[in-house]
Symmetry: D2
Subunit: 346 residues, 4 copies
């Protein structure tokens, strides 16, 4: 069995890793760290794990972690980049779910995260963990930076048309909406039930940290810089992310059928991307708990602006599920291992 360590196991991406890894046929979680909860049984914090996991939180310790075959960071930004040099020196393979290694340019990273990058020398070594674009590099990586939830949803939606330069890359608009679990398990008034329920709002319109990540990713995909207006919204639901993507066709002669075929072909061999039949409107609940991205493509009124709909579970394909998918690729396992859970619907 592959020995897995998790740094920062008390948050929602931590418990999601556990939910899936306890049923993974070839992996076993041997270390979960938490400074705050060290000594506590994990299933005392998360009773959903009772009967499946007989382990306690321990304080983070590089030497202990380095004995694992692979270590996940399920931490806020600014943790992984401080432990990374020591871990990589000990030849540990690392999958970082945080933002620390997603942006290659340390200046750009600093500008958005408000502090210097602690480990700029490793930025070029990190592989951006979007398997549908980077599978080969992931397989060989020692350090994988898992994409953010919005970036996953937006990039998978735009990928086929950007890759083929079919739309005006200077006029992209991504209107995205997330469930509240995306804000993490932190005691903030803004995320209280009584503040969020039965309401809807945009947030971060002047600038969200996922904007530079998405622009970098779409730039890599299309081979040219892109200009994106990105507007996140908060939905009164726990899980789920929905992106409504707008783009102007460069060549308006292309038909909706051709676009549909392009998407189906591009993703035909992808185990976790599902292109829905023409005319579909994916619901986030159809991927709740599953590592799937479902897509639909539209051309309203036959006009020049196409609309792509993309849904994921922000905690699964948008975080912990994709991290396990990356682990499977890195370790040469079946890419689907541990990820066969269907969406919980209704």
């Amino acid at each position: 069995m592959i020995k897995v360590g998790i740094v920062g196991g008390t948050g929602y991406t931590g418990v999601e890793l556990l939910r899936m890894l306890v049923n993974h046929p070839e992996a076993e979680v041997v270390v979960i760290t938490s400074r705050a909860e060290a000594g506590l049984r994990v299933d005392a914090l998360y009773p959903s794990l009772r009967g499946y996991l007989n382990i306690r939180f321990s304080p983070p310790d590089v030497d202990v972690l380095a004995r694992c075959d692979v270590v996940f960071f399920a931490t806020p930004h600014n943790v992984a980049m401080n432990m990374m040099p020591a871990l990589l020196d000990l030849d540990t393979r690392v999958i970082d779910l945080s933002a620390d290694f997603r942006i290659r340019d340390p200046q750009l990273w600093s500008q958005w995260y408000g502090e210097p990058h602690a480990c700029p020398q490793l930025l070029s070594e990190a592989v951006y963990g979007l398997p549908e674009f980077n599978r080969q590099a992931i397989a060989e990586a020692q350090l994988v930076a898992c994409p953010g939830c919005y970036p996953t949803s937006v990039q998978l939606g735009y990928l086929p048309v950007i890759e083929n330069q079919l739309v005006d890359s200077q006029r992209l608009i991504a209107n995205a909406a997330s469930g509240v679990s995306g804000a993490g398990r932190q005691a903030k008034i803004d995320n209280l039930y009584a503040e969020v329920s039965d309401s809807f709002k945009a947030y971060g319109i002047p600038g969200h940290r996922h904007l530079p990540e998405i622009e970098q990713g779409l730039g890599d995909i299309g081979g040219e810089p892109v200009n994106l207006t990105f507007t996140p919204h908060l939905v009164p639901m726990v899980r789920g992310m929905h992106s409504t993507l707008y783009a102007e066709l460069v060549d308006t002669a292309i038909s909706l059928e051709e676009l549909q075929n392009l998407y189906e072909e591009r993703y035909a061999d992808e185990p976790f991307v599902d292109v829905l039949p023409p005319g579909s409107h994916p619901q986030t609940r159809t991927v709740k708990g599953a590592n799937t991205c479902r897509l639909a493509i539209h051309r309203p009124q036959g006009r020049d602006t196409i609309v792509i709909l993309s849904v994921i579970d922000n905690l699964v394909k948008g975080a912990s599920g994709q991290a396990i998918q990356n682990m499977n690729i890195m370790l040469g396992l079946d890419e689907r291992a541990g990820l066969n859970t269907l969406a919980l619907l209704p």
Copy 2:
């Protein structure tokens, strides 16, 4: 007291009219019709009205309705247009909350509603009931066609920049999201709690009936045809509507401060439009139950695409509240009468 009749009082816009009219200082509901529930006490269907309304549903009857000073239609489309000639002949003043008289072109109406218009001769007589644009005409109208919920939200958001030709009218994108009450009180599987809750989806992307209404309205406001991509979404909440509006600046020299000032000045005297301070993100819950539209204007990253955020309660400013506002204008009452209820928050 002004005598009020309501046709179709069993739906959500009907009960909303009642909720506000029972506390209106100068109006009294004397007739509420419903074929299906004729004879039933209204407060047996809606216990929230117990103690406030001592009246029963009656079958619709033009002569009875004509004795009212004003009649509201809170019906699905295709009802008002069939009763309208008889009612107008009897000099009744009518406020239609349905879609029957919102679109001036009968061909366009037929194309979107899938049947011939029953009463095209009255289309030119109907006044579009958006007080912030049409107040004077409403005051003199015999027949007011209340705007749809999405059209209200979208038009109030775009109005100042369209009116002043500050944006490219051929590249408008309105990404809107509605609570489930917008679907009405109809027994449909798609609107069950277990189908809608904890999920998010787009719908009607190929074409929604509010698109031609919005394009007509924005065309009137700007004096030139507009091209809009309109994408509605369903939010797991009962009430509330949020529009995220995108537009490209024609003159990029205009500053965000100038735009903010433009909005504040345009709506300074409007009792039911509230322009939020710079940098705001309006939440739908801040207008829950209130006849208010709250707006915020952004220019993300200082780029050329501006983003306007507009929230209303779909059942109030998006339907019944705006209808009462129209009634107040038509009858020369204080425009705020009966509409002083604050949002229920939390």
Copy 3:
């Protein structure tokens, strides 16, 4: 106009007082205190108040408060009892929404609140503000202790049968359920949307602070000590409280019709208690935002255990609305003044 002061205006009961008082025909809020937010416009914290309230939070100051005709405490316990002697010395009339003066026995209070009572000498002076039982004393009180939300809901439900000794007072069971706003506007992980949504739980089963308050109140009503099993639960909704009350009939010859009549007669003149028709199941949404308690009485299968259902809005009849009702009684105003808002349904 009556001058009103509010101590602790940042919580949910504070903003509820404001929502109703800004439309009160004879009262005006002139002071709202908050140490943490002193200087901030109230409508910056609660945008729902924009346009209705032109006032800022100020630090608490007894002399300023004493200039008000009436002062509300919308604070956690342990605030009012410290300021009370000074305020009462200045002849201010006070309505305390907190728990400080609800329990007459200081030992019992200390046992449940975990600290000595700061002001035991005033406990006997405080009038328990349940108008349906204590109206006359409230009218003459200088200090009114508003009942808790659960105690209001449970006492109004049991009142007629306890008052008439119709049930076994040693075998009462109150199974109650509250919306999340009852936990207040505090940054706690347990109250996050992602923790509460789409789930249901009991809490406080070994002992909830409202138990001694309810037992004291029912003892006063029935004239003998009672024994109550009280089990609160948390419902994934913002507002609303539902109590399912069980009692064994002492005389099983009494019919359900007689019980129904008893309830209807007992509450016939009460403006804010509504006894539903036989066979009803009140929904909390029928009182959302309204100062109403709706009741239904059942005798399942004709057996000896009766079941009473009681719903209120925990923030209105369970807190701020009842406080205003008490103010109206104390000041000789129409008891309904400012409280005519209907429930927001749907």
Copy 4:
């Protein structure tokens, strides 16, 4: 592989069977019937199944079903009892999720279901499928009647104290609350999102069909008739069932610790019943999607009434999961097979 047929695959218990069976290591779904949807791909109705199930709905046909090793009925009552004689004649083993064979007394069944029982001769042959009480009989049964959701939750909670005659069996009170999926996938106004959301209510207080089933079951467990007051409630959540069970101790000398030990011992070998540590309050979300019942036992204030808390997922341990558990027992498979999915939390 075991060949599985499902009659009535369009409802929520149908899709739940599919969600779990597609990952069952030893079973394969070969037939799913639906008159209304015959010919439609199953994953067109339930997109969550895309990629996992390549099958279409077919009209119900006894001969086709009889070729399966086991047939599930996921139908409303009154379907299974009409097809059962033919199926049993063909030696098919049947697991009925409906109410048709849960009550042994045909008169009692008729009284509650409002029609004669179509197949009374088979009632005595049906085995009540509560594995924790009936495992051996289930293993040998040809026809298993799966318990209702409320009966599962209530019986598992009461079982140890009833089995040991520790409480007054004539004074049981079960206050239960269910998520909305319990009402099924039927187009009813009462179950619309806008009717159910942000509200709470009791229903069926005069008498719910699960009452006689629970009383029969508890009577079997304790060996004497019981008298139960059973009050179901509707919670605004999709899945989850919470029962708060009250009972009076016969011998008040028994300690809470002894009761805790009793529960832990009784369920020590049960794979799907989890007795929580003392003082716990189980949340329904800790079993969301899982075939687990979690229990806690309390004795508030050391008085004579004990309170047992019991949570299940109404669609899993309350329906489809328990049905698969029964299948595993009947066919001699690992009782956990296909049921290893953890709760989805958050």
